[in-house]
């Protein structure tokens, strides 16, 4: 943690010249350059909460073959891990179970070198301290009732979990669904305010 803050302070105060000598600072700077917002926070909400999501969460909602006939099929995705299979929760296509693995995927895609020892831990800390805490998504019970009545809660589930004395409602079953554009994870809406009252974000694709 101290090293991350040190690296970030070097990056902020002294520009990128010094950071280039430190692979950790360089990697963090490169990754933050795409995610950092003007308010100093990153554009990914709820990273700490996501890391504390119960492993069994998707099992509460999984219905791989639409067994209950509600028209919604959603499946868990397992991915490779160091000591066995793991249940994925990161990424739009559930590509990783851990932040470090997802960072490695993103690093490979964007040409960021994350091979230096300690860089993944430092990167995770740097992102977590800048990730906004989720807020309660519904301003009142009526909004939640309308959300559920529209069928949104079929995937954006309104179940909650407790973490460090706080109650979180990620509004995602963390399952893969086929909406006509390939398998996609239900997007967590815990950073969303206006979108709960927006028009249907899932228009039916032609021919579906």
């Amino acid at each position: 943690m101290r090293r991350v803050l040190f690296a970030l302070s070097i990056s902020v105060c002294c520009g990128s010249a010094l950071a280039e000598d430190d692979p950790i600072a360089t990697a963090i700077e490169q990754c933050l350059s795409c995610h950092l917002q003007e308010d100093g926070q990153i554009d990914i909400v709820g990273m700490r909460a996501l890391s504390g999501l119960p492993v069994e969460w998707p099992f509460l909602f999984e219905d791989a073959y639409d067994l209950d006939g509600d028209g919604i099929a959603g499946r868990i995705r397992f991915v490779s891990g160091d000591s066995g299979p793991m249940i994925a929760k990161y990424g739009k296509s559930l590509a990783a179970a851990r932040f470090a693995d997802f960072a490695r995927i993103a690093g490979a895609a964007h040409g960021v070198d994350l091979s230096a020892p300690g860089v993944l831990d430092a990167l995770e800390t740097a992102f977590e301290v800048r990730s906004p805490e989720p807020h309660w998504p519904f301003p009142d019970p009526g909004t939640q009732a309308r959300f559920e009545a529209r069928g949104c809660a079929g995937c954006h589930v309104t179940e909650t979990f407790e973490l460090d004395g706080r109650t979180y409602m990620p509004l995602s079953d963390f399952l893969l669904h086929d909406l006509g554009q390939g398998l996609r994870r239900t997007a967590p809406l815990w950073g969303c305010r206006d979108c709960l009252n927006a028009a249907d974000p899932h228009p039916t694709p032609p021919g579906k």
Partner: protein, 284 residues
């Protein structure tokens, strides 16, 4: 021989420990730094994890009802949570029932009566001002069901752990064999807990679909070994799924020996035969 050695060396340099198996060819990795594709052994173990974590999810959601009941939630709120919870508990436990197939090492299914009691408790409305008796019964039923699910999840996890050191070919053959045995045996229609509630079709469907779900994780390895068989299994799975939907949705209690169960049995047996052939591919 030289190519085999090269393939073996390539597998040994893969990042994940479980990718260091050499028996079964893996799909081509798609991402350079981290490849989420499971090795064959991981795919089989994922299926055991599917069972263990699934049952554990039932325990967790059941315990949540108990915790809620201990607080100041209204009986109505408690009942709503309990109705959601029992659905998950029933579905997850039944989906994992294949783990009791002979040879898995798990011999004693949980007392399924505890699930019946939990479901029964959610069928008790209370419009009175004092619902303390109904509340206590609900909490007791869910506490008992949760405890039983907890023990069952531990059994499944132990079975998973016992397989971690075994060769991927043996595990793959065994897994496909369990799937075949379970589907062809017809035990999925026995010891039903919810017939009295008209939900035996739901239990049967959960048991069969829970077994079919295992296919998705291991399909890539069978597909690489025998694409034709892969296609036949997928066709058989689709047929079984159609048959299940047609014969278990909204049908009420299913009569033993009736046409619905006979149709399901026929489709399940056909798919089991394909799984049996796939199992033979990986047998020594």
């Amino acid at each position: 021989m030289r190519f085999a050695l090269i393939a073996a060396l390539a597998l040994c340099t893969a990042p994940a420990v479980f990718a260091q198996e050499t028996g079964i060819a893996a799909p081509t990795p798609g991402i350079a730094n981290y490849d989420p594709t499971m090795s064959a052994k991981e795919a089989v173990l994922a299926n055991w994890e599917l069972a263990a974590s699934g049952i554990r999810a039932g325990r967790i959601i059941g315990s949540k009802v108990v915790d809620l009941g201990a607080g100041d939630a209204s009986y109505g709120a408690l009942l709503r949570q309990a109705k959601f919870a029992q659905k998950t508990m029933v579905q997850r436990y039944n989906a994992a029932l294949w783990v009791y197939t002979p040879g898995t090492g798990i011999t004693s299914p949980m007392d399924i009566g505890t699930l019946t009691d939990a479901v029964q408790a959610t069928e008790t409305p209370c419009d009175a001002s004092d619902c303390s008796a109904e509340r206590a019964a609900l909490i007791d039923a869910f506490a008992a069901a949760s405890a039983a699910l907890d023990a069952a999840a531990q059994d499944a996890k132990a079975a998973l752990t016992a397989r971690e050191d075994r060769a991927d070919t043996a595990l793959m053959s065994e897994q496909l064999g369990f799937m075949a045995t379970y589907l062809e045996s017809g035990v999925w229609a026995e010891d039903l807990a919810l017939t009295a509630f008209g939900r035996d079709g739901e239990e049967i469907a959960a048991r069969i679909v829970g077994t079919m779900s295992l296919w998705r994780n291991i399909e890539p390895y069978v597909g690489l070994a025998n694409p034709q068989l892969d296609a036949e299994i997928n066709a058989g799975a689709t047929q079984l799924l159609r048959t299940l939907r047609r014969n278990t949705r909204g049908t009420g209690p299913l009569a033993p020996g009736g046409p619905e169960l006979a149709a399901i049995k026929e489709a399940a047996t056909a798919l089991a035969a394909h799984f049996r052939r796939a199992s033979a591919i990986f047998a020594a």
